[in-house]
């Protein structure tokens, strides 16, 4: 339909996807094989892995479907970049982390790791929602997955961060990558409210569906890769109660912060998830549920306050447009979680005070490093995405499905 007005993707997109897929298949053919041993151990995490898959595909897809004219693209492109990203993440994962001898082995945990890594891309895509076309999104996914794997590799290899913790950096990394990239795609018209940028009740309900799936399965997300039984159990229960608290607090704070005491759906979408994000790092180590609950309460606070203040004060100044509000849904709660993790670490290791300094420095350094790499890589990628070669959209065509999709009958109600 809209092909006369916005650049057609016909020449670029299929070619790019075919080249990438062919390359992936060839690399998989030559370098990868399945793990032969310990398959039953693998299968025990299958249910949790399934939950994470639902979160990534269905949860994130529908969470982003809140724009009234962008539902097809939100869910569709989410599926596209998630599936592409998972394959690429498996490759990066395999080459960076496995021993050099022979073929790289694929097991269920490595697929789960790839799936979690890809959430970084989906979070960044939230910041660029409606402003980037599929070609740009695919390039972003490629760069971001590579950058995240590299940052993880540095963390694990040199800073000796635990693998699970390094994966939980995904929220911070994705957020700052996305924000830095969105600086390049900023257009002055975005700060004014565009009609297409709004939601309607139907699209907000779809978004709620995504929120609910993310919300429900977050305990699996935080615990899927933990091996130790007690830690796993703690991670599940801690996340469960933290999510509960952040949901209740989100409703209360949303009503409190609006002028006439009405609840805003957008706060519910964002703040209810903040608890799970904040718990990412420390969920397995928190000894009592109430600590987790307080973290959930704080995270929810930050998310609601962030969406009240940052949108108005910070983003126009920095010339950033964050469509989905990822900065306060994932970024700030993630930082809160990282800081809380350091504090908990100090408290738990208080007894061996003498040797405390260096490990604490490492903990702080690791998440600072992730943030820095995210910002840097995002900034470079953002610049790279503005090339005309990728058939960038004119700002008047932002937030519109019709630039990419064949519409049934120019549907009423959209």
């Amino acid at each position: 339909m809209g092909s006369e007005y916005s650049p057609s993707l016909r020449s670029g997109l299929p070619g790019l996807i075919f080249i990438l897929e062919t390359a992936f298949i060839l690399i998989f053919y030559f370098c990868f094989s399945y793990e032969c041993q310990s398959q039953s151990e693998d299968l025990t995490i299958y249910p949790a892995f399934q939950d994470v898959s639902v979160m990534v595909i269905l949860g994130f897809g529908f969470l982003l479907a809140f724009l009234k004219r962008y539902g097809f693209s939100s869910t569709g492109f989410n599926l596209l970049i998630a599936t592409l990203g998972i394959q690429w993440a498996l490759l990066m994962e395999g080459f960076l982390f496995s021993s050099p001898s022979g073929k790289v082995k694929i097991s269920l945990p490595s697929v789960a790791k790839a799936t979690i890594s890809v959430t970084a891309v989906l979070i960044s895509a939230g910041a660029l929602l409606g402003k980037a076309n599929p070609i740009q999104l695919i390039w972003m996914a490629m760069v971001e997955v590579a950058a995240f794997s590299a940052s993880r590799w540095i963390n694990v290899q040199f800073l000796k961060v635990e693998e699970h913790t390094s994966l939980m950096h995904v929220h911070i990394f994705g957020t700052y990558f996305g924000l830095a990239a969105s600086w390049w795609l900023y257009h002055s018209s975005l700060s004014k409210g565009v009609d297409k940028k709004k939601a309607n009740p139907l699209s907000e309900l779809f978004s709620m569906l995504g929120t609910l799936f993310l919300w429900m399965f977050w305990p699996s997300f935080n615990s899927v890769l933990i091996v130790d039984v007690t830690e796993k159990r703690n991670a599940i229960s801690n996340t469960y109660y933290a999510m509960g608290v952040s949901a209740v607090a989100a409703f209360a704070l949303s009503a409190l912060s609006s002028r006439d005491g009405k609840i805003q759906m957008i706060h519910i979408h964002q703040a209810t998830l903040a608890g799970g994000v904040a718990l990412g790092f420390s969920a397995p180590f928190i000894p009592y549920p109430w600590i987790a609950m307080i973290l959930g309460l704080l995270a929810s606070n930050i998310a609601v306050l962030g969406s009240r203040c940052l949108e108005i004060y910070l983003n126009p100044v920095l010339k950033i447009h964050d469509t989905c509000g990822i900065h306060y849904t994932f970024g700030l709660p993630g930082l809160l979680g990282a800081i809380a993790n350091v504090i908990l670490f100090i408290i738990i290791k208080w007894a061996s005070l003498s040797s405390l300094g260096y490990p604490v420095l490492i903990e702080v350094g690791s998440f600072m490093l992730t943030t820095a790499i995210g910002l840097g890589a995002g900034f470079i990628t953002g610049f790279f995405l503005t090339f005309k070669l990728w058939k960038t959209l004119p700002a008047s065509k932002y937030f519109d499905d019709q630039a990419y999709w064949e519409f049934p009958h120019l549907a009423h109600g959209f």
């Binding site: 025990t44 009740p201 907000e204 709620m208 429900m216």
Partner: protein
């Protein structure tokens, strides 16, 4: 609403966190995990199988119940949103009050099973919420959550630990209890101003489809719900099988009856959304008994039958004569089938159906459990209704019922378009983009 609701919610949350800080601890299993030979069973009970079922129950509570209630055309945000609020508050409070009955050394020890039970306890409130849907404010719902879960856990303790009745799928303790509690509260909160109906108390095409999402998720995961607290793996499997067949039989009956009772044989979406689930409710009490698949299918069919008949004839009667206005029809989906489930368990017990090994449940105890559940629910619901009627709780006036915009920021410009899928006047898109 601004301060009343927020401050109450934050106060409750702070109170719960303090109580958690004082009482709740994780179950200690350090000692056992070190012994390798028991390692596998621990894995089973904590990490994997339980967690799988727990996730299913979680989906039912949040997506299933939430979206099932989105059928009102202007009340979708509240249905899903307040559903989430109630469930999130309820699961914390449920953990506490259920834990108080099983304290060890002044501490509540929690594991995945207590999380499942906490989710269960929220289900009762969500069922009652269905009866009151559209007629209450979030403040009232917070108070109802606290009161109902407290009463529910007492009743559950009475049924399970004192009377020692069997109620694996909780037909009685959750479904019948929640439904009759909600109906009693609805009777007390009856609005005579809405006798003639309300202009927003209707569904639209898309809102019915959203409700169908909820129905499907509930339908899919009901076997997990009914088998979650079965004692052994064998009983669990039997509960899954019985529920599975009961739901299938129920669905068929519901479709058939819906077509039969409507004029010109058309299907009614309300029946499909609700009556198809009645089989899962009714089979609950006998889910893990040895009633053979045909018994389960019989119970399911009767439940589907009763449920459709209830929607067609009983709901209008209740609403006009008994002054009980039941928005979602919870009486037909949870009340009657739950009662039916209780009856079925009495009959099964009287017929000496085996539960495990040789023992069978005792019929008088099942009857006592059914009676006391409904009695406590009615009395508790009436008292809760009276409390909710207190004027300072911000009950919305009649004309503001069934309307999201009283409590939510609803995207404005579109509100009049909701539900007008086939509105020929809306050519806005075409004008702008072609």
């Amino acid at each position: 609403m601004r301060f009343k609701f927020s401050l109450l919610a934050i106060f409750l949350e702070a109170l719960i966190i303090v109580l958690f800080g004082i009482f709740v601890r994780y179950q200690e299993d350090q000692r056992i995990t070190n012994r390798v030979n028991i390692h596998k069973t621990i894995l089973k009970s904590f990490g994997y199988e339980m967690n799988q079922i727990f996730q299913d129950v979680h989906v039912m509570i949040f997506v299933g119940f939430g979206f099932l209630m989105t059928f009102l055309k202007k009340y979708g945000f509240s249905s899903v949103g307040i559903n989430m609020l109630i469930a999130a508050l309820g699961l914390q409070w449920g953990t506490l009050v259920q834990g108080f009955w099983h304290m060890k050394e002044q501490k509540i020890h929690i594991n995945v099973k207590s999380m499942i039970n906490a989710d269960f306890s929220t289900a009762t409130v969500l069922i009652s919420f269905g009866a009151l849907l559209g007629k209450t404010s979030p403040v009232q719902m917070l108070i109802m959550t606290i009161l109902e879960i407290a009463i529910f856990s007492c009743n559950e303790h009475l049924v399970v630990n004192v009377l020692r009745a069997t109620d694996t799928g909780a037909s009685m303790t959750i479904h019948a209890f929640g439904a009759y509690f909600g109906l009693a509260a609805a009777r007390v909160l009856y609005r005579s101003g809405l006798k003639e109906g309300h202009k927003n108390e209707k569904s639209a095409y898309h809102s019915d489809i959203f409700a169908m999402i909820g129905t499907l998720f509930l339908w899919l995961f009901w076997p997990s719900f009914n088998s979650a607290i079965a004692e052994t793996e064998y009983l669990q499997q039997r509960a899954v099988i019985n529920t599975y067949f009961s739901m299938a039989a129920c669905t068929l009956t519901a479709f058939a009856l819906s077509s039969l009772v409507e004029h010109r044989g058309k299907l009614d979406m309300v029946h499909i959304q609700n009556a198809t689930l009645a089989g899962g409710v009714a089979i609950g009490s006998c889910a893990d008994m040895d009633i053979y698949p045909f018994g389960a299918m019989l119970i399911g069919s009767i439940a589907g039958f009763v449920s459709v008949i209830g929607f067609k004839f009983l709901t209008p009667f209740c609403s006009s004569k008994l002054k009980i206005h039941d928005t979602c029809g919870v009486h037909n989906l949870h009340g009657l089938p739950g009662f039916l489930g209780g009856l079925a368990s009495i009959i099964a017990a009287a017929a000496h159906v085996r539960l495990k090994g040789t023992d069978s449940p005792s019929a008088p105890m099942q009857a006592a459990a059914l009676g006391c559940t409904i009695g406590i629910a009615l009395v508790g619901g009436a008292i809760t209704g009276l409390i909710l009627k207190l004027p300072f709780l911000g009950q919305a006036p009649d004309e503001n019922c069934y309307d999201d915009s009283v409590y939510w920021e609803v995207p404005e410009e579109e509100t009049h378009l909701v539900g007008q899928f086939s509105d020929s006047e809306d050519h806005r898109t075409i004008n702008v983009n072609v």
